[in-house]
């Protein structure tokens, strides 16, 4: 049994290649819950916390690159929050301060839970996921990375190294519904982002499908309905129709957190709320 703490990405890739079954450990906020409850007994662990490269980010003209090891506390404020406001709002709803100080974006993707709060925002921002191994690097769209509930396209020996998202001009909103304000797993989450440059609106949905979903019909409708050159404010009828179309894009299930019917209803409510907030 070993705990390896590589200091560079190259070392981490070699370690993962020679031991493809080792548990990769970032903030531990998902992994250690499983270990403490006895659901997982790690034999070998590769701890990623000492790799500086994974904690970096860069904000380009059109795309933002965020290292897999960047924590939600970092995403929730500062320049990342200015560049990707909806992601910051989602980050701020993750767990508690203690959780956000440890939990990473890469870990949220690694777990790939449909309720992971970064996922709907990443979907709306056309995210791609960068995976690295000793064999090289590949970058795939989020829609190819998430293949099912808690199932991803990451291959043994591969590390998630970064996430790339669009940097947009325009307002963004993230709304999450749970049973309380803090420390709650989403029953539904909705991200709505607008891009004034391309006059488009994009919608990401969380916890209402096996993977994060988009709502193409609602997006097209909103892009048409919004008066981009003048007073960008939406009327009640536009919100109602938008909510209906977003709701139709949801594919929720019944589980211990909610019924599918309630999730579908709440998806519409959150969508209308988000649209009204970004175009008040």
């Amino acid at each position: 049994m070993t705990v390896l703490s590589p200091r560079t990405l190259a070392e981490a890739c070699s370690a993962a290649a020679s031991n493809p079954n080792a548990d990769l450990l970032a903030g531990g906020t998902d992994l250690m819950v499983e270990v403490n409850s006895g659901h997982r007994r790690p034999t070998d662990v590769i701890s990623l916390g000492a790799i500086a490269e994974l904690r970096e980010w860069s904000i380009g003209e059109d795309r933002i690159t965020i290292g897999a090891g960047v924590t939600f506390a970092k995403i929730a404020s500062g320049e990342l929050a200015t560049a990707a406001p909806a992601l910051a709002m989602a980050a701020r709803t993750v767990g508690s301060p203690q959780i956000r100080n440890a939990a990473t974006l890469g870990g949220n993707l690694g777990t790939g839970s449909p309720a992971g709060d970064s996922l709907p925002v990443l979907a709306a921002l056309n995210a791609s996921v960068v995976l690295t191994s000793v064999h090289g690097q590949r970058e795939i769209p989020l829609s190819e990375f998430c293949v099912g509930p808690k199932r991803t396209d990451r291959q043994p020996g591969e590390l998630i190294t970064a996430v790339r998202i669009d940097r947009l001009n325009g307002p963004q909103e993230f709304c999450k519904l749970g049973t309380r304000q803090a420390m709650v797993i989403s029953v539904v989450s909705v991200a709505v982002v607008a891009d004034t440059s391309s006059t488009s609106v994009r919608v990401g949905l969380g916890a209402v499908g096996p993977v994060p979903l988009r709502a193409p019909e609602a997006e097209a409708f909103a892009a048409e309905a919004i008066n981009w050159s003048g007073q960008t404010s939406v009327d009640t009828e536009t919100c109602r129709r938008f909510a209906e179309l977003v709701r139709d894009a949801a594919r929720p299930i019944d589980d211990h957190r909610s019924t599918a019917e309630y999730r579908r209803h709440a998806t519409g409510v959150l969508a209308a709320r988000a649209l009204r907030r970004i175009f008040p």
Partner: protein, 166 residues
């Protein structure tokens, strides 16, 4: 291959050896059961209650979610470091003065969180205090007196004018 791991941890400025631990042990478990530091409390082991809060490299985290063997080389500070001589820190004193301690199980975690908050944000508003303490559950007090204790501690800190109070 052996089932056990040995490693060193830096806790409250001291180098401590953990010999023959199981790999999956959390920092909380190791602090309490192997290093004799029982200040951090175990109530959930799921990151939900904050009673195990400690500082790791100056970040407030749940020690139950830190894999102990991965914390080698990191600066770990527990509640025990706040009052090394047995004299209460200003936050601890404020909790006593406000009557914010009933069974006391949540108290060490809250004190660590409040120290962290007031060092970063000495003038935190009421809503910011609530958000900062949202990861610390208390089943006894109803939080009113805890919020009062934070107000007292913040005022005391500002009045004292010292940035570097323990």
């Amino acid at each position: 291959m052996s089932d056990l791991v040995s490693y060193r941890l830096n806790v409250n400025g001291q180098d401590r050896t953990v010999a023959d631990g199981r790999l999956g042990e959390s920092l909380l478990y190791v602090l309490r059961e192997r290093l004799g530091l029982a200040g951090a409390k175990n109530a959930c082991e799921q990151g939900e209650c904050g009673s195990c809060s400690v500082m790791v490299d100056d970040e407030l985290v749940c020690s139950c979610l830190v894999l102990a063997a991965s914390a080698e080389g990191r600066d770990i500070r527990t509640i025990e470091s706040l009052a090394p001589e047995g004299e209460l820190s200003y936050v601890q004193q404020a909790f006593v003065d406000a009557g914010a301690v009933q069974c006391g199980f949540c108290t060490p975690g809250l004190i660590v969180s409040v120290h962290d908050l007031l060092e970063r944000q000495p003038d935190a508003t009421d809503i910011e205090v609530r958000e900062a303490l949202s990861g610390n559950l208390c089943r006894c007090t109803g939080y009113g007196r805890i919020l009062e204790a934070v107000r007292i501690a913040a005022a005391e800190r500002l009045a004292d004018g010292s940035e570097s109070r323990a």
